[in-house]
């Protein structure tokens, strides 16, 4: 006997999707709140990275008579303090987690659910961010007192920044999903992951504001998605970008998110056929 499936109306599909996101985000927030001490310690380790860059470049700026490439210690302080917030937003499901997920057969459970598994990761980590950013704020205050940033922002810059950090989150989610899916094909993917991380470090503005990089590296960065996940969101707030470049930046973020989504969709369909799990 066959039963004709009732077509789900577009409106209710959207509503159930929104419902799914709201619920998952709420659960993630509650989970994250349970492990406050551990989260804080983890963050302290994370904050070491920008503090090192900040101290090194401020030292150079001072030794060069107050600024390097037009950036003063106060500018560096602003850059790297905002960096930390952007970094928090950029934490997504890691490729190393993928290795584990596939090896342990955890993917089976995700595949049984009715939605594309990427929605679970997006919602889960989006919820975590609410908590991390909340925890981060006192650290930001501490860094501000210690390093005295110079920061002048307009309401428009704040608005663009608030959108851009989510754009960065989506782009990085797509990138690291693509990278993680390599684990479907090989069990020794860590060398590939590390190569990616190094390229990202150098070409995203994570290591230094891109204008300190040699010209050819800046041209190369313009063709890659990395700078839209670090440099652009940070510059949107601390730089003096024109309204046109702010809008253009958001456009580029939308473009890279779209490219990433299509690639994830295609690559996932090809990869999932290779997935086998024992047990579970």
């Amino acid at each position: 006997m066959t039963v004709a499936a009732t077509p789900v109306r577009e409106e209710s599909r959207l509503r159930s999707m929104a419902d799914f996101y709201a619920t998952t985000i709420r659960t993630a927030i509650q989970t994250e709140f349970q492990y406050r001490a551990a989260t804080y310690m983890y963050m302290l380790g994370m904050v070491a990275e920008p503090v090192i860059y900040l101290v090194v470049w401020s030292t150079i700026a001072r030794s060069q008579g107050g600024s390097v490439a037009g950036l003063t210690p106060g500018d560096f302080a602003a850059y790297y303090i905002v960096w930390t917030l952007v970094r928090n937003m950029n934490i997504v499901f890691t490729p190393y987690g993928w290795e584990h997920r596939i090896r342990e057969g955890q993917f089976s459970g995700l595949l049984l659910r009715p939605l594309h598994p990427i929605h679970y990761d997006i919602a889960q980590f989006a919820g975590g961010k609410v908590v991390w950013v909340l925890f981060y704020l006192p650290i930001a205050v501490g860094l501000t007192i210690a390093f005295k940033p110079t920061l002048h922002v307009s309401p428009l810059e704040v608005a663009v920044f608030l959108v851009a950090i989510w754009g960065a989150y989506l782009i990085r989610t797509m990138n690291l999903w693509l990278l993680g899916m390599v684990s479907f094909w090989t069990t020794r993917a860590s060398a590939i992951f590390q190569t990616y991380m190094m390229a990202e470090l150098l070409l995203s503005g994570r290591l230094v504001p891109l204008k300190l990089m040699p010209g050819w590296a800046q041209s190369l960065a313009a063709w890659l998605p990395f700078k839209w996940t670090f440099y652009f969101p940070i510059q949107a707030l601390v730089g003096d970008l024109s309204t046109a470049s702010l809008a253009g930046g958001l456009g580029m973020q939308a473009l890279w998110t779209a490219i990433g989504s299509v690639l994830v969709w295609l690559f996932f369909r090809a990869s999932i056929k290779r997935y086998t799990a024992v047990g579970n």
Partner: protein
């Protein structure tokens, strides 16, 4: 002496175990080469904008980088895996197996694991130190080299003490998954001479997390910066910290109740 014998025994067993997985050597080699490449790129970038960093030339900073790589290799090969296992076993209540052995428990928990492929970092760090030293203007004498090696060993002991104190914390705080992330983050500060950090951070990185003693001080020995007072302070600090670590470990151990049995 007994401690050394036990350490050697575990080292041999661990090494034989690891030698079964030779492909890991190439993975490690690749990762070390990549990490070294990026570190050198960063140094070049810094020195394309300046000629000296807080009085340190590029060659001198190469020495600092080499020491940081070498020390990182030692930590990852012999210290961190043991401490990680200790934390896990406290959490799972499996530490009983180590405690019931008829030897000093601190020795046992400190020597059980060895990851020999990490030695790649020790060697590449050594090479980087060599390249750096050859570019330094001042002559480096035999005394300097011996002091340097002595200070490196002292540094390794200090980092071991630091790790054991933190890991002993697992007797009170059970969930310690963040510890290696935290250490890795802070350990990166050692890539630069600690003199560049603002005062509060400099003192934290000397006495709270002994990175200054473990990395910057040995670098001072081969770049003609070392004052003998620093050596005395380092030795006294190491003795005090080692004593404190031993006491703290025993203090923590009393809280351990086991969970498996």
């Amino acid at each position: 002496m007994r401690a050394l014998q036990i350490g050697w025994l575990y080292f041999r067993v661990g090494a034989m175990n690891e030698l079964q997985y030779r492909a890991n050597f190439f993975v490690q080699l690749f990762q070390s080469a990549l990490a070294l490449g990026v570190a050198v790129v960063v140094l070049r970038l810094v020195y394309s904008h300046t000629t000296e960093l807080n009085g340190w030339s590029q060659s001198e900073l190469l020495v600092v980088l080499g020491i940081q790589l070498l020390m990182g290799g030692i930590v990852h090969a012999a210290i961190q895996p043991n401490m990680q296992r200790l934390i896990d076993e406290v959490q799972d209540g499996k530490l009983d197996y180590a405690l019931t052995k008829p030897e000093d428990a601190q020795v046992i928990v400190s020597v059980r694991e060895i990851q020999i492929w990490q030695v790649v970092d020790v060697i590449s760090g050594g090479v980087v130190i060599g390249v750096g030293v050859s570019g330094v203007d001042h002559a480096v004498g035999v005394v300097d080299v011996l002091t340097f090696i002595g200070l490196l060993l002292l540094g390794a002991v200090l980092i071991y003490c630091f790790w054991l104190i933190i890991s002993t914390g697992a007797f009170w705080i059970v969930r310690m998954w963040f510890i290696s992330e935290l250490f890795e983050g802070i350990f990166q500060t050692g890539r630069w001479p600690i003199g560049i950090y603002p005062g509060w951070l400099k003192y934290s990185l000397t006495y709270l997390v002994p990175i200054g003693f473990a990395i910057t001080v040995p670098a001072q020995a081969v770049t003609s910066r070392l004052e003998w007072t620093t050596v005395v302070v380092a030795v006294v600090f190491a003795v005090v910290l080692f004593g404190f670590t031993r006491w703290f470990w025993r203090f923590g151990l009393r809280r351990y109740s086991g969970a498996s049995a």
